[in-house]
Amino acid sequence: MTTISAELRPAAEAERIESLEIGQWQAVWRRLRRHRFALLGMVVLATLVAIAVLAPLFAPGGFDEQNLFARYGLPSAAHPLGTDDLGRDVLVRLIYGARISLTVASIATILATLFGMLVGASAGYLGGVVETVNMRIADIMLSLPALPLLIIFSAALGPGLITIVFVLTVFGWMGVARLTHGAVLALRHREFTEAARALGGGAWHNIIRHMLPNALAPIIVSATLGFGNRVIAEATLSFLGLGINLPTPSWGNMLTNAQGYIWSQPWLAVYPGACIFITVLAINFLGDGLRDALDPRLKI
């Protein structure tokens, strides 16, 4: 964390000390590496991302290649996980579903986190009316049940990729706003911010340069865990018919489809949910590891 200036030491010792000098992020990485489950989560996530990015390589025919002569196929060499009601390869659709899930969740997480940081930081730094309005809105929105509102917004705006990213952003920034608000309030009167202000730093300069970097640890943890929740939220909305619509495969709408064949072809319902489960579990492991690695005292 702290760098020890080498000049003050005898020359012989200097080299050894230099090798001990590590930056903050390196220290975080070292702690994270010791967390076995976090590491596992990271490997699983990296694999999923790679599979999603390289989807066309695995399935050059695309996700909608049908074969009505091979409906409800059992697992075979050509179709490792079998085929669905229209003879489409289940594995291929799962791979393309990963694309949708990860894209929606990551874009919504980035937007919601940035927006939450903006709302919370301005509330904490500026105080007064801005603080009251910002944080009161956050409190009200946190107290409302999210799913009924996600449903009604998605239906009103017309289900689709952009709608779902939008609603997950609009209803996903409050936690980060609260964390940022609290952190900025705590940092506001510390000497180094006073110094930055005294040197003539403007409000936004001070917030971005001096406060947010110090408030980042809980925000990163919250964003990671929020990512997992958004994967579930996207799947839930798609399952209810208000997210990603067919024929584009999403793990959620594959389950809607599978629900119709639950008595005759129950295995179709197993895979998409297992994908969601594994993805979210991996993210939660990573989030847990990050919480310990970023700040052992952190409690959220």
Partner: protein, 322 residues
């Protein structure tokens, strides 16, 4: 305390107006109207456009949304919640909801009780036996429960217990013709209540555990043990009572989540409750029904938050509201 309560109730009323107005506005943004299926049907015997216009004028659909909102709100206060447009055309919303609210409460209250019981037991046990294999198993369960999408868990349970083992029904309120059979009723309740409870147990047990661990480190417990108080009493009385105080708030804040879960659970298990009614009304553009359900849910949620605050003060004498 009394002043605080009065202020909170006034806040509650304002919040309710604000939320219902916002939702009314959003419903107004819906593409098309509730009678598009009449207007654009491929049936050659199309509905007469003049008749549709007359119907829309009767329902006030020709007026701007804020005028309709004022009409709806003043009616709602007087107990007139309007009538369904599409789901059960003409049936008063209040009547539709009266049948459903009881069904939903069976699920949500049942799930809350089950979650509380298991959440407390697992949480306390893993705090007292921290880092044993049983505590680790509870941690694993908690991770799994939080990472599991509710609807998939529901589908898996249906596949295992209804399709394969055929022990439990796959859905509905009761077996046709057995509407008064209590055993049959309970059998139908088991799976949906389990589905609704798992995530709450996963969350609450973690919370009880960390709250309990915090209390277990306190000096007054050492004092109690030094005085020779039995371990059972130390844990059950001294520790638990103090550990439960923060738990009350979390549970109050999680009531909305249980209602959210009810939407999905009722849809999977074909359970005729408020959640399914809500989803159906949104999908069918049935504005009066959607408004009615949301208002009831908003009211229950706001009221449970208030109740949690009050209970918090009752449980902890150090907390005083002004």
């Amino acid at each position: 305390m009394r002043n605080y309560m009065i202020r909170r109730v006034i806040q509650m009323a304002f919040l309710l107006v604000f939320v219902t107005a916002l939702i009314y506005f959003i419903l107004n943004l819906f593409p098309g109207g509730p009678f598009d299926s009449l207007r654009f049907s491929s049936d050659p015997r199309d509905a007469d456009p003049r008749e549709i216009a007359r119907l829309e004028a009767f329902l006030g659909l020709d007026k701007p949304w804020y005028e309709r909102y004022v009409t709806w709100f003043t009616g709602m206060i007087r107990g007139d919640w309007g009538s369904s447009w599409a789901l059960a055309t003409g049936v008063p919303v209040a009547e539709l909801m009266k049948q459903r609210l009881g069904n939903t409460l069976q699920l949500t209250v049942g799930a809350t009780i089950v979650s509380l019981a298991f959440g407390l037991v697992i949480g306390i046990y893993s705090a007292v036996r921290q880092y044993t294999w049983k505590d680790n198993a509870a941690t694993a369960f908690s991770f799994a429960g939080q990472s599991m999408p509710t609807f998939w868990l529901g589908l898996m349970l249906i596949i295992i217990f209804a399709v394969r083992l055929q022990w439990l029904p796959a859905g509905d309120l009761y077996t046709p013709g057995k509407s008064t059979d209590l055993v049959d009723k309970l059998q139908h309740l088991i799976l949906p209540v389990v589905v609704l409870s798992v995530i709450q147990i996963a969350l609450w047990s973690r919370f009880v555990r960390s709250s309990m661990l915090e209390v277990l480190r306190q000096d007054f417990l050492r004092t109690a043990r030094a005085k020779g108080v039995m371990e059972r009493v130390v844990l059950g009385k001294h520790a638990l009572r103090n550990a439960l105080i923060p738990v009350i708030t979390i549970i109050g804040l999680d009531i909305p989540a249980i209602f959210s879960g009810a939407i999905v659970t009722e849809t999977i298990f074909n359970w005729p409750g408020m959640g399914k009614l809500y989803l159906d009304s949104v999908l069918r553009h049935d504005v009066p029904v959607a408004m009615g359900v949301l208002t009831v849910i908003a009211f229950l949620v706001i009221a449970s938050n208030l109740l949690a605050d009050v209970l918090y003060a009752v449980a902890d004498p150090r907390i005083r509201y002004e």
